[in-house]
Amino acid sequence: MTQTTATKTPPTLPWVDVTSRLCKGCDFCVEACPPRVLGFSTDINERGYRFSFYLGDGCTGCGICFYNCPEPGAITVWRKPADAKPRKVLQ
């Protein structure tokens, strides 16, 4: 099974991970990011699109880029380490 989303907890938190090979270059996340910490590449990925990427510093973990991204698995935003507490499930 191919892993389409990043799973490892990143080095510093908060952090945004863009899986560049899934990006279709719509630029929504770059424009929407409040602290403007996403860049837009000049080269193209294997799908033939320019892609967005994290500049490496300043992510607040707001998740706005995640909701703006139309591709289900392209963006992962980390606020706390994964599975810090169990997911709330409503019955």
Partner: protein
């Protein structure tokens, strides 16, 4: 707030159902609103804990491949029929949560009636209505929701009121109904409105989970490809042009709605179904009484409308059916009640019938000249062409079939009722082919509602039999052995 914003669990990890080589990314164009919406729906399914009982109904449109992505129950409906399918699923599986995900071409055009009726019945379902003012999948044609002046491939000079009317406002329309509990219109123009949409989808699903009734979220969504602009520009276009025509907001919300009570479906077991149909399980015992050399008869009966060829075919099949034979009757007729042409295909066999369509009949019954001309050449070699010689004056019949001219109409006239020509034909057919027993046919005639006609018909039947036997035609072997 979440610790990690990541691909919702309600999506497949890998889109292995996709027919393309790309199993990782969706098939949607860059900047397409479907991706955002899919994410919001999947996230809501995750968070509401309904993944195991959700059934996602995909429409025809770009979102036709919903089953590639959502790791829930999936049905793909015919164009516009998603609310009807969703109704069936929800009623058959009362514990399910059904999401009908439809575009504007699907929901507001071909499926406009389905959504109206489902909403009016207050079906327990959640409809996600994606409105992008255009037919996206088929190449950017005008949709009912297309804006005035908007250029599409089918309105190259822009939509005009005089030609195409006004954009259809579905949320406003449906909110006039009494039954729906929640109707909201949202947009996907920026972060703020996306988060509003997220909330609306959850609310709509919660109304279904609590059993209150029909909920619909209309979402104005960008279609950069259909609108022929860049993704970022498409969001601006949406804000600038669509929002004023389709104002966002809550159009209906009945927070005080009582949970709907559904009558439990009565599920019949196989025995009960057979009992209700007056049948029993296993091979039909009556078949055993049919002679093993009974051939398959494939008939075409044709004539003017009003001559009774359809009824004749029906009676022959019904009569054969009472003997336990397999039968089929396929009518074809014009819209006229009298006149015009009519024909029917009849198959009678001791085996199951694969197709009711008869392209090469073993027997043609032509009640007039045009029918004879039309079908005579299609009769199988060794077959028979029975025609009404009172109407057919010049018959050109292929040499490999047996012509049987009988003046059905004249005989019927002599008996005093021209309408019984079809019964004369029936008598002749039965005598010539043995397709059914005359007793079975007589029994059917005796069940006629107009009692005064029974005697006339029986006379006509006998006259037909005699006229056929008088010809002295050797007929063994007609039919497919």
């Amino acid at each position: 707030m979440k610790d990690v914003f990541k691909k919702p669990d309600s999506f497949f990890d890998e889109f292995s159902r996709s027919a393309g080589v790309d199993k990782e990314a969706t098939h949607y164009c860059p900047g397409c609103g479907h991706g955002n919406l899919h994410k919001l729906v999947a996230e809501a399914i995750d968070d509401l804990g309904i993944v195991d009982r959700t059934v996602f109904v995909s429409p025809v449109g770009c979102s036709v491949f919903g089953y590639y992505y959502f790791h829930v129950g999936n049905v793909q409906a015919a164009h516009g029929r998603a609310p009807a399918v969703a109704t069936g699923v929800r009623r058959a599986l009362p514990q399910s949560i059904v999401i009908s995900y439809q575009g504007d071409g699907d929901l507001a055009a071909i499926g406009a009636n389905e959504i109206l009726q489902a909403a009016n019945r207050g079906e327990l379902m959640t409809v996600i209505f994606v409105n992008n003012a255009i037919y996206g999948m088929t190449g950017g044609q005008m949709a009912p929701t297309t804006l005035l002046g908007q250029k599409t491939t089918t309105t190259p000079y822009g939509r005009k009121i005089a030609n195409e009317g006004y954009p259809l406002r579905v949320s406003e329309l449906l909110s006039t109904l009494t039954a729906p509990v929640y109707i909201e219109r949202c947009t996907l123009e920026d972060s703020k409105t996306i988060m509003k949409t997220r909330k609306a989808i959850r609310k709509a699903l919660e109304y279904q989970i609590s059993g209150k009734g029909f909920s619909l979220v209309e979402v104005l969504s960008p279609c950069p490809t259909g609108w022929e602009i860049e993704p970022l520009a498409s969001r601006e276009w949406l804000t600038k042009n669509m929002v004023s025509v389709f104002p966002p907001g809550v159009y209906k919300e009945r927070t005080d709605a009582e949970p709907r009570t559904m009558e439990p479906l009565k599920v019949l077991n196989a025995q009960e179904v057979l009992g209700a149909l007056n049948m029993s399980a296993g091979p039909d015992q009556r078949v055993a009484s049919i002679p093993p050399d009974f051939p398959t008869h494939e008939l075409v009966l044709a004539g003017f409308g009003g001559q009774g060829v359809l009824l004749l075919g029906q009676l022959l099949t019904k009569s054969s059916m009472t003997e336990g034979k397999f039968v089929s009757w396929l009518p074809s007729y014009g819209p006229e009640m009298r006149g015009g042409t009519a024909n029917c295909h009849v198959v009678v066999s001791r085996r199951r019938i694969g197709s009711p369509f008869v392209p090469r009949p073993t027997l043609l019954i032509a009640m007039n000249q045009p029918s004879l001309e039309k079908f005579a050449d299609s009769v199988r070699p060794g077959g028979m062409v029975v025609y009404d010689s009172s109407f057919v004056k010049t018959a050109s019949i292929p040499s490999h079939v047996t012509p049987v001219p009988i003046p059905f109409s004249e005989i019927a006239n002599q008996l005093g009722n021209a309408k019984t020509a079809n019964m004369v034909a029936a008598g002749a057919i039965i005598a010539l082919t043995g397709i059914t027993e005359e007793e079975s046919f007589t029994a059917l005639i005796k069940k006629l509602r107009k009692k005064e006609l029974i005697e006339t018909n029986l006379k006509a039947l006998a006259a037909g039999r005699e006229s056929a036997l008088a010809l002295g035609i050797q007929v063994a072997g007609v039919g497919i052995h």
